[in-house]
């Protein structure tokens, strides 16, 4: 072992969202360098929001990421509402949750089938799979389309949401649209059974790395919107104390800021949520986790993808339940709240597909907001 030299430089990792290089150097068996370089251009969203109307913040910040656009918009709206003292109605809360599940499904199915599975199946992209395993591709496309249609019915389109506004929505799905989506969500159960079966056959690398996992937690549900920042090392913080877990620091090799809590680093995302909130998963999702051999505390980072499979099942079941609730209540247009005249500092947090997300607007007054 002692004379092993390793020199890996991956320039622009493919099939990932965002731009990254990987550098690994080892000399005589000793690791000298191991680095993920985020080489994206800095984008300065914090500055962009300054001096613009608070109603624009969610529209601008959704453009941070085309994959978790609904998540950014939701966290932004929660921060603005928090700053303005606006409480969204029960109907708004239900619609936002349903919208959010659409994004979780969209992002996870993309990641599982189009970004990860080709690696584990030994092909360069999903395109050759069209020939080798057409049913797998068709299944992925079916789920992806359902997720996109769900978002479109709620907020106009997944990237970038239109109808989500401060304190409510500017457009509503019809009962017929919701019931049609419900039927497709029920059909998607079979596709998820097949997804679990596929995930069981994939050669997940056996690798564990103990670390701290951080996610939002709520007392009454598997948290995606709002909650308490909770860590597997025992920390619990209100969202307004988010800086205690972010502790951002800048590094020269990456435009992405680094964060740390009690250890050198921590993990967020589906596996972190699973580790923190597994007790609140829908029974079907719990059953899938058991079938995939996923038990908390799981420290194999590769199984983040398995946790995404589990979350998809949870999202489908919760979406069905939310539609039932919305249909039973009946959807009514609700006027958007007016500017209450004063604003303070606002905090918002969501669990976007890839992990915990905070928006903090120091001054969300009518003419100005900052992140």
């Amino acid at each position: 072992m002692s004379n092993i030299n390793i020199n890996i430089e991956v320039h622009h990792v493919t099939r990932v969202e965002g731009h990254g290089n990987i550098v690994v150097n080892a000399k005589n068996g000793v690791l000298e360098e191991c680095r993920l370089e985020i080489v994206e251009t800095p984008r300065f969203f914090e500055a962009m929001l300054r001096g613009r109307p608070y109603t624009e913040s969610s529209h601008i910040t959704s453009r941070i990421c085309g994959i978790c656009a609904v998540g950014h918009a939701t966290a932004s709206l929660r921060a603005t509402e928090n700053a303005l003292g606006i409480e969204p109605s029960e109907q708004t809360v239900l619609l936002r949750k349903l919208n959010f599940h659409g994004e979780i499904l969209d992002s996870h199915v993309l990641h599982i089938y189009m970004l990860v599975a080709p690696d584990l199946l030994g092909v360069g992209s999903v395109i050759p799979l069209v020939q080798i395993a057409p049913e797998v591709v068709l299944r992925a496309l079916r789920i992806k389309k359902l997720a996109g249609d769900l978002c479109a019915a709620l907020c106009g389109r997944h990237t970038h949401p239109i109808a989500m506004a401060v304190g409510g929505f500017t457009h509503y799905p019809t009962t017929d649209e919701l019931l049609a989506l419900r039927a497709r969500l029920v059909d998607a159960r079979a596709d998820m059974d097949a997804t679990v079966a596929l995930a069981k056959t994939l050669p997940w690398p056996a690798f564990t790395r103990e670390t701290e996992y951080i996610a939002l937690r709520k007392e009454d549900e598997y948290a995606f919107i709002d909650g308490t920042v909770t860590t597997t090392d025992g920390g619990r913080y209100p969202i307004s104390d988010y800086r205690k877990v972010t502790n951002e620091r800048l590094v020269t090799h990456s435009t992405a800021k680094h964060t740390a809590h009690k250890r050198e680093s921590y993990m967020v995302g589906a596996l972190a949520r699973f580790n923190v909130n597994h007790d609140q998963l829908h029974p079907r999702a719990k059953a899938a986790a058991a079938e995939l051999g996923l038990t908390p505390l799981c420290t194999n980072p590769f199984l983040n993808t398995a946790a995404q499979v589990v979350e998809m099942i949870h999202s489908i079941e919760d979406a069905i339940q939310l539609i039932d609730q919305l249909v039973a209540r009946g959807i009514r247009p609700e006027p958007l709240p007016a500017f209450p005249g004063k604003a303070g500092e606002g905090f918002g947090a969501c669990e976007v597909p890839r992990g915990i997300l905070f928006h903090n607007y120091p001054d969300a007054g009518d003419a100005g907001a900052g992140v």
Binding site: T14, F44, A47, I60, H160
Partner: protein, 252 residues
């Protein structure tokens, strides 16, 4: 095999962007799998590992926001017979250029403090500020059907058709209640149609992501403006979420 040789090779590239337009491409291919028979994708970092450099059509997403990215864009221009701006970031500068209206030093310090000079940047600009662009697919994000339409036109050697009338035309066709009537603001009278007036249809004003119609002064929906006591100049001044770069160019 001969059929394969005839397939134009296309590649996708991104600069300063959210990747939402590329994701929309992925989504459009889901419902137009036939397009995969008509072209050969040789580069699409977000979706595939393989990489070929012999592309004829380059779709470029994103604004240019640092000097060191210009060389890469110029190489793409040298290789590709056709360069297409994919989405508002590439077409207009878009969201990325909002910050251009603030002093650059201040913007950098606001986000990165005393480490501001660790991260290279300059005012964001559309790709046409750096290289010649042959076609544009507007929008933030692009419209799926329009993407398919543009690709089909390019394959036939035609100039891709873009509507040159304003969003209001599509909005009225949909019989939407006008956003102004509800007390909101909408750029529809001066913005290029083609999105099906999706924002007003969802109850929100047009923010202008598809850029201005070619002759706003002549072709704006002036009946809407007259009705609500507005002028084309009022409209242009409000077009800052996506049009800051153009506003500043026009003003300088």
């Amino acid at each position: 095999m001969i059929g394969d040789l005839m397939k134009p090779k296309v590649a996708f590239f991104d600069f300063t962007s959210c990747e939402g337009c590329q994701l929309t491409v992925v989504d459009s291919l889901q419902t137009h799998v036939d397009l995969l028979d008509a072209v050969e994708i040789v580069q699409f970092r977000e979706a595939m590992t393989e990489k070929g450099e012999d592309y004829a059509i380059a779709f470029v997403e994103g604004s240019i926001s640092r000097a060191s990215d210009e060389a890469r864009l110029r190489r793409i221009r040298e290789q590709a017979a056709i360069v297409v701006a994919l989405g508002a970031c590439a077409h207009l500068g878009g969201i990325n250029a909002i910050r251009n209206a603030q002093p650059l030093d201040d913007v950098r310090k606001y986000v990165y403090g005393d480490k501001a000079d660790w991260y290279e940047t300059y005012p964001a600009r559309p790709i046409s500020a750096v290289v010649k662009v042959d076609a544009v697919i507007p929008g933030c994000p692009i419209d799926r059907d329009e993407f398919i339409g543009v690709v089909k036109a390019l394959l036939l050697g035609k100039k891709p058709p873009l509507p040159d009338y304003p969003v209001c035309v599509e909005c009225k066709r949909k019989e939407n209640v006008c956003v102004f009537h509800k007390g909101g603001f909408c750029l529809g009278p001066v913005i290029r149609a083609g999105c099906g007036a999706i924002c007003p249809t969802c109850g929100d004003g047009c923010e202008g992501c598809r850029g201005l119609i070619p002759n706003p002064n002549q072709d704006s929906m002036s009946d809407v403006l007259v009705k609500y006591g507005l002028t084309v100049a009022d409209m242009l001044a409000r077009w800052t979420m996506f049009g800051t770069y153009q506003q500043m160019e026009a003003g300088s």
